[in-house]
């Protein structure tokens, strides 16, 4: 039988506010335990939540970028359960009336294949603290620094059909929140976390199969592996005449498999009700318009523009707009060297390779866009050959300064002086009488040999075009 997978993702994104969603405590990552947990975050008696305006603005920003509806009125509710990293015994979240609803995100699958993924809702909520189990005997240690960090949970429609689509969606959303500067998207630090709802059904069937939820898959690679594993597991189960049990599973990264969570599976009854400490959140059209004005050019629009204005193909445009920083870098280089194709090739080639090798992000590059732009200018004005330019790039990468300084210091300037080249060419012809004779007898492919000799004699600095031209002239004569 042919099977179809149905996947929906719930992504929890930490918002890059300075303070918690309901308190004025700092949200910086990596502080000493409980030094950023104030009385409100600790759930002390009598203290009260007050909503962070910036978190609301960020939610609006995301909603606008997803083409979603911003609710004029949304409500914070309490989700009640007991856990030591949840100090109040309830999480403040949005339940019946979320701040953002009905959006969509377009993902690119192949060069020219894209797909729209529905966004059911996005709601604001507070993060929990952290429970530390390792290194303690008989006890669990609790750090509440993360408690109260603002989260926006983005819930997709079950529109994805493969792990590949799910990863493309996650990457697109990740890129979007960084474009919007509402999250640092740092997956190692837990700023961008994903739960996947997965089911399978016979191809052509309309009804959904029983789903499982795979919790906390926190890298693109693990999402792909976890989903593929889970799809396969469900298909095998069904083909063997079994049934999928609706349950929550964890992805075991060391074994590359999902397994049911061992927590005592009691029927969760969260007893949601409107938080009486927080009045309804009302968002005025004026605020929406104000936020709209701060929206940057979004990835899809940028991609279109790159294709249109720079003449780049779909693939290159997608790669170059993957992050706002990369796109900005590319545009600066292209402007400086006035050659978008050349700029694109270098950014995706030499630069991306070097960054990848060094494990650096574009924002950490030692070669600034201006430095690369100048280098490419030197190719354009024939100061450098492409080959020598790579050597200069490497020198810049290693901190030897800008292109002009490297060229000067290393004497890499391309030889374009006609008379000087003529002298060298004549010497080469004189030194190779046999080859000269053969060439003149019609073996024209020996031209390459002569070019090589001239390049060798000039340490690669001769302008290749000029060498060709002069050689043909001299040998022909």
């Amino acid at each position: 039988m042919n099977w179809e997978a149905v996947i929906g993702l719930e992504v929890h994104i930490q918002l890059a506010t300075k303070t918690k969603i309901f308190s004025g405590a700092a949200t910086a990552y990596g502080a000493a335990p409980n030094t950023q947990a104030c009385a409100i975050d600790l759930g002390m008696p009598g203290v009260l939540p007050v909503l962070n305006e910036q978190a609301v603005r960020m939610a609006v920003k995301l909603g606008l970028a997803l083409g979603a509806t911003i609710a004029p009125r949304s409500v914070f509710a309490r989700k009640n359960y007991f856990y030591p990293d949840l100090p109040k015994g309830y999480q403040i979240s949005q339940y019946e009336l979320p701040v953002v609803a009905d959006g969509e995100l377009t993902i690119e699958l192949d060069a020219d294949v894209s797909k729209r993924i529905g966004i059911i809702r996005a709601h604001l909520e507070e993060d929990a603290g952290k429970s530390l189990h390792e290194g303690f005997e008989q006890v669990t240690a609790i750090d509440l620094n993360r408690a109260g960090t603002p989260l926006i949970e983005v819930v997709s429609a079950p529109d994805m059909r493969s792990a590949k689509e799910a990863v493309a969606y996650m990457k697109k959303l990740h890129s979007l929140v960084r474009y919007l500067e509402i999250s640092d998207g740092n997956m190692q630090e837990g700023s961008f976390r994903c739960d996947a709802n997965i089911s399978v059904r016979p191809l052509g069937e309309q009804r959904l199969g029983t789903r499982t939820e795979v919790k906390n898959v926190n890298s693109f690679r693990f999402v792909e592996r976890a989903i593929n594993y889970e799809i396969q597991r469900q298909i095998e189960l069904l083909e063997d005449g079994g049934k999928v049990v609706q349950e929550t599973r964890l992805f075991d990264t060391s074994r590359n498999e999902t397994r049911p969570m061992r927590t005592k599976e009691e029927a969760n009854d969260y007893r949601y009700f409107p938080d009486p400490d927080l009045l309804p959140l009302e968002i005025e059209p004026a605020l929406i318009e104000e936020v709209r004005k701060t929206l940057p050019e979004l990835p899809d629009a940028k991609r279109e523009r790159f294709m249109r204005d720079y003449g780049l193909d779909a693939y290159d445009s997608t790669v170059l707009t993957a992050s706002r920083a990369l796109a900005d870098y590319f545009e600066a280089v292209a402007a400086q060297c006035a050659d978008a194709k050349l700029a694109g090739n270098w950014v995706m080639g030499e630069l991306a390779g070097a960054l990848n090798k060094a494990g650096l992000d574009i924002t950490e590059t030692p070669v600034s866009s201006e430095m690369l732009g100048v280098l490419l200018q030197r190719i354009k004005d024939n100061t450098l050959s492409g080959k020598i330019a790579k050597e200069v790039f490497e020198a810049m990468w290693n901190g030897e300064g800008g292109a002009d300084a490297v060229i000067e210091r290393r004497g890499l300037k391309q030889l374009t002086d006609r008379s000087a080249l003529e002298a060298i060419i004549e010497e080469v012809i004189a030194a190779n009488p046999n080859q000269t004779q053969q060439y003149r007898a019609g073996k024209e492919k020996l031209l390459g040999f002569f070019v090589g000799q001239v390049m060798k004699a000039t340490k690669g600095q001769a302008n290749p075009q000029l060498v060709n031209e002069l050689l043909q002239e001299k040998l022909g004569g």
Binding site: G24, T35, A39, E53, P84, F136, I142, D269
Partner: protein, 95 residues
């Protein structure tokens, strides 16, 4: 609405309370009496009436995103039952 002993135990567990076996009948009786009493609400004609969650029908006031809390860990943990190296300690969580 009358609650039986198993329902009392269930509700108690949801609220993380243990009720001594001997006290269960008394709790069951009192809770049932309270629920019977509030069942009067069933007679109210509420069709078309919007729920009122809060006496103040005004919007949420927002707070500027500025740090105004300082580290008071030492003070807060001076009243904690068990801490170590700045962490709160609780009995092992079994997952």
């Amino acid at each position: 609405m009358s609650l039986g002993p198993s329902q009392v135990r269930e509700i108690a567990h949801l609220a993380r309370l243990t009720i001594d076996g001997n006290d269960i009948p008394a709790y069951a009786e009192n809770l049932s009496r309270i629920l019977d009493f509030v069942d009067q609400l069933g007679s109210a004609a509420t069709e078309g009436t919007a729920p009122l969650a809060h006496p103040l029908e005004m919007p949420q006031r927002l707070r500027a995103d500025a740090v105004d809390e300082e580290d008071q860990r030492e003070l807060f943990q001076s009243i904690a039952p068990a801490t170590q190296d700045g962490l709160y300690l609780v009995p092992k969580v079994i997952e």
